[in-house]
Homo-oligomer: 642 residues x 2
C-alpha cells in the first residue's frame, strides 16, 4: 500500500481545539458547524485528534510498516509511511516516543528510490548485527493493478541503521530483488516485502535453519493476486532465491461465497506471514501458518487507476513443497482482519518475550502484534478537510493475534465452511465441534492501561431489555446510561446475552448508541437478520451536513454467534454471548467482539455535548446487557510531545 | 568498456596548429618541443589530430557503440561514448556528419542511469518501428573486475529515437534486464549488451524466426569471464529470457598457449556476435559464428581497480544447444582483433547491402563493419597532455570483417593449432591444407577514397635489399624513398617477398621507417625470429623527452607467414608474402597485413619535417619490396565541421 499525499504542518502552527474560525472567529462546538473546508489551516487540529493512538506529530500517516524490536534495547519500534517512513519507540505498547523531532527515518530520493519509499519490514539482527530494512523502492509512478505495470517501478532494496533506528541509510547497491522473476513480469503489483523466519518453513523448503524469507505482495495481470516467496541466499541479504508464488488466487475470486472474507480481488498488498498458536507467536508444533493481506478489487467495469474496494483479510492454511522445490500455501480458513472499509494495510511483527513491553507486563510468551492504517479520507479520494485538520489518518490500536478456539459449538448448519473458522475436532457423542479461528484482542498492556489509567470508571448496572421502548432511531430516556462520560475518550465493555429466539428474530437490533446528543449519535448494534455488527453513522456528525468528506456511510461486519452446547442436557444449547469492547478515542471508534471480530472507523461528532451513551434495542426479543463498564480517559500515548 | 574522463572544449577555443605556446610564444615544430603539459588548453588541438578518422568535434571519445543503419534513410550511424553517447552519420563510410552541433544523443542522469551510460547497441527497426537502443545504465561506481561487484550497478535499459537518431529518449520504465540472473550475481561485470538476429541461432535455440538476442559481457568472480545470452521475449523488448552463459572460460586461461589470442582474462567486455562467410555478413549455410570481445586481466598480485591488461580479441566457433535449452558457444579459433595495446572496445554492426554506403560503392552483399577505440592516454592512466590537446583518443579506421581463406598452405608444423586459424580442408595428395581465419580489411569505400582522393601518389620502385647497408637504427641514404610525402597523412601499400632462408634468419628485420627525420623516426618491421610485426616507437617523438604521457613503448603483433605450395613441383613451397597497408593519419598509425592482422597505435612525431619514409632492412637475408605506393592526403572525414 502506498500513500501519495504529503502534509507538512510545523508544530508551531498547531492550534488548540479552541481555535478561531477563519471567517467567524472562534470555533464553536456548541453550535452547528460551518463549512469546515473554509477554516484556517490546522484550525481543526485537535477537534478529532485521538490521544491513545499512534500517529505522527502532524501531517499524514500512511501504512504501518517497518516495525521491529531492537535486540540491543528491547524497545519496540513502530513504523509508518509519512514522508518516506517515520516511527516511534515504545517500552510498553501504551506510550510512544518519536524517533526524532521529525520522526522520519528514511526518505525517498536515493538512486534506488528516486520517486517513493513504500512498505518494508525489518530484520532486527541483520547486516553486521544491525537492524536491516527490506523495503519497496519506487522508481516510476503511477502504479496500480488497474493499469499496465511499468517494469522496474517497484524494486526491493536494503537500508540499515547505525544510530538505533533514528535513520535508516540506504545501502550503496542496487535493489536486492530487482523485480518479479522472469517470465512473471506483467504483474499487478510487486511490493511490501515482509521478512520472517520460520523453522517450519525451513523444514518444508529444506532451508538452512534460521533462514530469512520474504513474501512480496502483488499479482499477475489476467491471472490474479499472489504472494511471491523468496528465501535469503547470502549472509548480507544481497540475493534472494525465488521459491515461486507460494500463494495465488484466481482473479476476483473469493473464499467460499465471499461471506466471511470478501474477495481476493486482483492484487494483494501488505502481506504478512507468521505462525500462531493459542498463546501467540510460536514455532511449536501446534502453531499454524497465518497471513494477513490487503486485497484490491473493483466492480466491472474496472476504471483505470481506481481501486473501488480494498479488503483487509487474514488467512490460515497448510504449507507444503513441490518436488520442484516450490512452496505452496493452501488456505483452510480466511476472514476479515478488520471490517471497517477505511481500515487497511495491517503490519505486524513478532514481539518477543524479551521485549521491554513483555517484560514490563510479565508476558512470557512471544506475541505477534499488528497495527492497521485507518484512512480518514477514504484512501485519498474523499474531500475531507485535511488541510484544516493538519493531520490525516491514524493507526489503529495495537492488537495481539493468536490462534483462537471456540469450544463446545453445536455441530449444526452454522459451522459449515469455507469460513473464517475451521473445525479442529469433533465430539460425536456430544454433537459438538471445536472451532479454531484467528483471535484478535487489544494488546494486553493497552487494555490494562485503559483500565488502570481511567480518570473515571462508570459501571452501568446490567439490565434486560425485553422490548423496545421505542422504534429504532428514537431512544427513549429509559435507555440512557445512568452516567455517561463527559469526554469522547473511553473504553466501554459489555456482554450481550441472547435468548434462543433471537436467532430468528429478524427485527432484533441490540447494542449501544454512543457519542450521542440531541444533535448527533452513532449506533452500534448486532442484528441476527444478517449476522452483522453495524455502526450506523448516518447521524454521527453535524459536520456532514456542511462539509464534504465527513462521510456518513454505515459500517458493517459479519459475526456469527454459534450455538454453544449447554452443560446440562445433551443436545441443548444457547446462543453464544456477544462480548463487546468499544474504544472511542475522539473520532476513532473501534469495535471488538468475541476476540475474533474488529471493526474500526471514524465518527466525527461535532458537538462538545455528544458524549452520551444509551442502550440500543429494537424488536420484541429480550436481550440481557451485562458487565457494562466505561473506562474514561484512555492514555496519552505521546507524553513527550509538546 | 567505459570512459570516465570528460573533456569539454568549445569549438571557439580551438587553436590551429600554428598556435602560440603558453610561455614562449608560437609553438615551433621545427625545434625541440617544450614540456607540452605547460601549454595553454587546446594549444595542441591540431598538432596530432587525425583527419580521416571518427572522433568528436572536441573532447574525449570512448568506446564506439550504438551503431546502426537507419532503415528509413539508409544512413549508417556511428556512435561512441562521449558525455553519454554521441554520434555521426555517413552515407559512404568516408565522410561523416555530426548528429548535432553537440553530437550527444543520450546522456546519463535519468532514473535508470543516474551515474553513467555505458555501451549499448541498436535494434534498427525496434519499438514501433523506431531505432531502439539497449544500453548499460549505470547506477553505482566504481565497477571493475578486480573489486567486489556492487549489485545493480549495471543494468540494461531501453531508449528510442523519435528524431532520426539525434536524441535517444530513455523509456519511462525500469531496466529491461535488471541484472545477471540469480544465482549468478557475483559478477565481475555485466554490461555492453550487443543485440543481434541470427536465423542459425533461431534454429539452434528453437526460437521464433527473427528473434533478437543480446549477449552481455562480464564474468563471475572466482570462475572467469563469460558472455551471457538473452533472448527477446515480447514485441516491446521489455523482457528478455536468459539462455545461460553461452560462453564461459576459466579465469585467466588462454586460447592454447596464448600465442595467438592472448588471455581470456577475468572479465569480458564489449562482446559482439555475428555470422560471416567469405563475402561478409551472412546467414547462409557457409557462414560461421564469430564474436569480438575485450578481455581484462592483470598479472598477480591483482591490484584493486587496476586492469593492467586489456586484449581485443575475436573468436569463431560452433554453437549448440543443451537439452535444458541453454545454448553454448565453443571456440574453434581465436585471435587478436588488433594487436595494439591501446586499441580496444571494438564495436561492429551489420551494414546491409541496402545502406547508402553499399549502394554508392556498388556493394551487393551485407557486410559487418567495425570500429575500435584507440586510447591515447592508456585508458586514462598515462599523463598525456590531454587538456593541451583539447581532445582525447579516436576510433580506428572502419574495417570490414569476413571469413578468410588461406589456400595451398603446406601441411607442416606451422599450421598446428589452437591458433587464430583452423584447418578447413586438407589435400592429402598435394600435402596442403586450406585454412580459414578472420579477415579484416579497411572498408572498401575508405580504401578507394584514400586512393582516389590522394593529392599525391608516390610510386617507389620495387627493390630487393639483399643485405643491410647498415645496422638497425642507422638507415643509410640508399634506403631512403626517392620521394617521401610532405605531410603526415597518407596510406602506404607494399608487399614483401621473403626467400625460404628467411624462415630461420634470426637476424632478419624488414619493413619501413616512417614519420622520419634526423630527429625522429618510427620503425615498422617484420621479423621471423618471433614471427612478429613490430612498431618501434622508441625514437618516434621528440616530445617524449620533455612530456609525460608521450609513450614510447614498442608495439608488436604476431603474424605467421605460412609455407605456400608452389604451383610447380609437388612438395615445394615458398614463404607467404607479406602484404602491408599502413595508414598514417597524423598521429594515428594503423598497420594491416595479409588481410588478417591489424596493429593500431599512436606515433606522436613532433617535427614538421618528420615525414620521410625509408626502407628498413637488417640482416643478411634478401627481401624483395614490391608495389610500393604512397597515397598522400587521405580524406577529410568531417567536411561539415568548421
Amino acid at each position: 500500500m502506498r500513500s501519495s499525499i504529503a502534509l507538512a504542518v510545523s508544530a508551531s502552527t498547531i492550534w488548540i481545539r479552541q481555535a478561531f474560525c477563519a471567517t467567524v472567529g472562534r470555533i464553536e462546538y456548541n453550535a452547528a458547524p460551518p463549512n469546515l473546508s473554509h477554516l484556517f489551516n490546522s484550525s481543526l487540529f485537535y477537534t478529532w485528534r485521538p490521544r491513545s493512538h499512534v500517529l505522527p506529530p502532524n501531517g499524514q500517516i500512511g501504512d504501518p510498516c517497518m516495525h521491529y524490536t531492537d535486540p540491543s534495547t528491547g524497545l519496540f519500534h513502530v513504523g509508518y509511511l509519512h514522508t518516506g517512513a517515520a516511527g516511534a519507540t515504545t517500552s510498553d505498547l501504551v506510550r510512544y516516543t518519536d524517533l526524532n523531532t521529525d520522526p522520519t527515518f528514511i526518505r525517498s530520493g536515493g538512486i534506488n528510490d528516486p520517486v517513493a519509499v513504500f512498505d518494508g519490514s525489518v530484520i532486527p539482527y541483520g547486516i553486521n548485527g544491525t537492524p536491516t530494512l527490506l523495503y519497496t523502492s519506487v522508481s516510476y509512478l503511477p502504479i496500480q493493478w488497474t493499469i499496465p505495470y511499468t517494469k522496474g517501478s517497484e524494486t526491493q532494496s536494503l537500508a540499515v541503521t547505525y544510530d538505533g533506528g533514528k535513520n535508516f541509510t540506504e545501502l550503496k547497491e542496487g535493489p536486492v530483488i530487482p523485480g518479479p522473476p522472469f517470465p512473471v513480469t506483467n504483474v499487478t503489483g510487486f511490493r511490501d516485502p515482509y521478512v520472517f523466519q520460520s523453522p517450519q518453513l525451513d523444514r518444508i523448503a529444506n532451508s538452512t535453519n534460521g533462514t530469512w524469507y520474504t513474501v512480496i505482495s502483488g499479482g499477475i495481470h489476467g491471472q490474479g493476486p499472489s504472494q511471491f516467496l523468496f528465501r535469503q541466499y547470502d549472509a548480507d541479504y544481497r540475493d534472494w532465491e525465488y521459491l515461486g508464488q507460494w500463494w495465488h488466487e484466481a482473479a476476483n475470486s473469493s473464499w467460499g461465497d465471499g461471506t466471511w472474507a470478501g474477495r481476493w480481488g486482483y492484487n494483494f498488498e501488505v502481506g504478512n506471514v507468521f505462525t500462531l498458536n493459542h498463546e501467540g507467536y510460536s514455532n511449536s508444533t501446534d502453531a499454524e501458518f497465518f497471513t494477513t493481506l490487503g486485497a484490491e478489487w473493483s466492480e466491472a467495469p474496472i476504471i483505470p487507476q481506481v481501486s473501488q474496494f480494498r479488503e483487509m483479510l487474514w488467512a490460515s492454511g497448510n504449507v507444503s513443497s513441490s518436488p520442484n522445490g516450490s512452496v505452496h500455501f493452501e488456505p483452510t480458513m480466511a476472514g476479515k482482519l478488520d471490517w471497517g472499509v477505511f481500515a487497511y494495510a495491517a503490519a505486524g511483527k513478532l514481539l518477543p518475550a524479551t521485549s521491554q513491553a513483555s517484560k514490563h507486563s510479565g508476558t512470557t510468551v512471544d506475541r505477534f502484534i499488528i497495527y492497521l492504517w485507518l484512512t480518514n479520507d477514504n484512501f485519498g479520494t474523499s474531500a475531507f478537510p485535511t488541510v484544516q485538520q493538519g493531520w490525516s489518518s491514524t493507526l489503529t490500536t495495537v492488537r495481539e493475534l493468536s490462534k483462537g478456539t471456540i469450544s463446545n459449538v453445536m455441530n449444526d448448519y452454522l459451522v459449515a465452511g469455507p469460513a473464517s473458522w475451521r473445525i479442529a475436532s469433533q465430539d460425536k457423542s456430544a454433537g459438538t465441534v471445536e472451532l479454531v479461528t484467528l483471535n484478535q484482542t487489544i494488546a494486553r498492556e493497552v487494555r490494562a492501561a485503559f483500565i488502570s489509567n481511567a480518570t473515571r470508571t462508570i459501571t452501568e448496572p446490567g439490565r434486560t431489555i425485553s422490548a423496545s421502548a421505542s422504534g429504532y432511531g428514537n431512544t427513549s430516556s429509559d435507555l440512557n446510561f445512568a452516567e455517561s462520560p463527559s469526554s469522547k475518550f473511553f473504553m466501554l465493555t459489555t456482554t450481550l446475552h441472547f435468548p434462543g429466539a433471537a436467532r430468528n428474530a429478524t427485527d432484533l437490533k441490540a447494542g449501544l448508541r454512543i457519542l450521542s446528543s440531541e444533535h448527533e449519535s452513532t449506533s452500534i448494534y448486532y442484528q441476527f437478520a444478517n449476522e452483522s455488527l453495524i455502526i450506523d453513522r448516518s447521524n454521527s456528525s453535524a459536520a456532514a451536513a456542511t462539509t464534504l468528506g465527513i462521510l456518513s456511510n454505515n459500517e458493517a461486519g459479519r459475526l456469527r454467534l454459534f450455538n454453544i452446547a449447554s452443560g446440562s442436557a445433551n443436545g441443548s444449547s444457547s446462543i453464544e454471548s456477544l462480548a463487546l469492547t468499544i474504544v472511542v478515542d475522539n473520532s476513532v471508534v473501534e469495535v471488538y467482539a468475541n476476540d475474533r471480530f474488529v471493526l474500526s472507523t471514524w465518527v466525527w461528532s461535532w458537538y462538545d455535548e455528544s458524549t452520551e451513551i444509551n442502550f440500543l434495542h429494537e424488536g420484541s426479543t429480550a436481550v440481557r446487557f451485562d458487565d457494562v463498564v466505561v473506562y474514561e480517559g484512555l492514555v496519552d500515548a505521546w507524553p513527550a510531545r509538546p
